[in-house]
């Protein structure tokens, strides 16, 4: 039996007086792999911010065991003008562990190098972050999140705007981090097929409603119709989910 590391009890989330989702009850277990999907405006980002502690819940209770988060934001929100190197960016992941007056030590440098090698970009160490391709930037941000030495890794739309090879190699990396490094992973994406084929559990968000459960229980044509107000075919070919629209183009 896996341990619960985060528990949402009757939680409502939103901004100010605007409630986006109400009565959320779910637990995140150790070594969990959850995909959060839903249409635009369904509250994916709000849920993520609440989960991270960046946004307070409007009501209810969130219980967290003492865990370190590693967060990978959407790549587009990190657009530096200054020429930070890949090493500089990954080192930022160590900052919260150094104390208020602490400075990077040899040990931090070693961990940064390990993280770079883990995501396969050790050769880019001295390159400027703002000169990298989308896929390389995403790997840098994942390395930065790993540098925190987290128990839980949260990724927000990691494959957005990537070319096909980078897209699949990144999904493979995320799966590897879960399988080999035994990390608990939460991935937010609007690409349902991507998420369905790598996660263990799925959370479907729609306005004022959400459901969470094992992938095989949640990923049904009925549930997708409720979530997206549109009809889908869900089929499994050679063990891979294939989700397509029923509308003929």
């Amino acid at each position: 039996m896996n341990n619960e590391i985060i528990e949402f009890s009757s939680v409502s989330i939103g901004y100010g007086r605007k409630r986006i989702l109400e009565n959320i009850n779910f637990s995140i277990l150790e070594n969990d792999f959850i995909g959060i999907v839903g249409p635009n405006g369904s509250g994916k980002t709000t849920l993520l911010k609440t989960l991270l502690g960046n946004l307070k819940p409007l009501s209810g209770e969130i219980t967290r065991s003492k865990i370190q988060f590693g967060y990978v934001p959407q790549r587009d929100i990190v657009q530096p003008l200054l020429p930070y190197t890949v090493h500089d960016v990954v080192m930022m992941g160590r900052y919260s562990l150094m104390g208020i007056f602490g400075n990077p030590k040899n040990e931090d440098g070693k961990i940064v190098n390990e993280c770079l090698s883990h995501v396969g970009i050790e050769d880019l160490k001295n390159q400027r972050y703002n000169s990298l391709s989308g896929g390389q930037r995403q790997r840098t941000l994942i390395a930065r999140a790993l540098a925190v030495q987290p128990r839980i890794l949260i990724l927000d739309e990691p494959t957005n705007g990537m070319d096909t090879p980078s897209h699949y190699s990144l999904l493979e990396l995320i799966s590897q981090l879960h399988d080999e490094s035994k990390l608990t992973i939460i991935i937010v994406s609007h690409l349902l097929t991507d998420v369905a084929n790598i996660v263990k559990r799925l959370m479907l968000l729609e306005k004022d409603h959400f459901q969470v459960g094992n992938i095989e229980d949640i990923l049904s044509e009925d549930n997708l119709k409720k979530t997206y107000s549109s009809e889908f075919n869900v089929s499994k070919i050679y063990g891979e989910y294939l989700i397509s629209s029923k509308k003929k183009v």
Binding site: G53, Q68, G70, Y71, P83, Y95, V148
Partner: protein, 292 residues
Amino acid sequence: METIQQLIELFPYAILGSIVAGFICAFLGIFVISQRVVFLGASLTQVSVAGVAFSFLHLINIEGFFARIFNIDIEHNIFFQNFEPAFFSLAFAIICVLIFSQTYRQKYITQDGILGMIFVISIALRIIFIQKSPAAEVSEIESILKGDILFIGQTQFFTLLAVTVLTVLIFVIFQKQLKFVTFDPETAMAHGINSRFWLLIFYLFVGMGISLTTRFVGDVFVFAFLIIPSSIGILIGKKISQVFLVSVLIGAIIPPISLYFAFILDVSSGPTAVVLAFSIFVIAFISKKIFA
């Protein structure tokens, strides 16, 4: 050589003050540009000028208040004779950055929109404050409000130097936190660094630096030196250290050179410094286009 000697004899603190003012503006400018809040610089210069204009109304005797607390004789204290305009300039700027630093929580108005409103309301208030000021000539007050490098005296120079040293120290001591929150505040927060607090510290020091330099060297100089040297640094520098080095060197070197040109051409020193800085930016930009 003779002109340079004359300048050094006549305006020693103006030369030193212009170096420090250019340095601090260029230093803060790197962060302002990288945060993409350039308009914050423009707005803060106008807020600071409005603060100085407010001091001319003499509605609150702040000098008397502090003099009583610290038992100081204002008549014989040069620092306190110039205290009220600098105090209100700083107070207005701090209120402005406190408001601005909280605006990212709301979704109704863009930060640009908020800065635009702060910019115009500051100009409007300045005009109203001057019209209601008991002092004589509006044009005379306007010239005092705008500041001038040549009027930097010993007190102004040491005030500028103290603020510069304090700002650089804070940015060096807390470089980890400030670097992370200005690069990616959301992730910094998720990783346990309080972005709201550190961004507030960042904006407070930007506000303090801009308000005091605006008071002493004028709004045009400050806004230009927030943008131009740091833009040249970002254009030329291949590493963070090079960006800082190029920016602060240009920020510190151009003002005294422009004082020389202003002296021999008989023009204002502030605008001369701006034109000179912009010329260097154009040269750097063209060189980058050709050689990159």
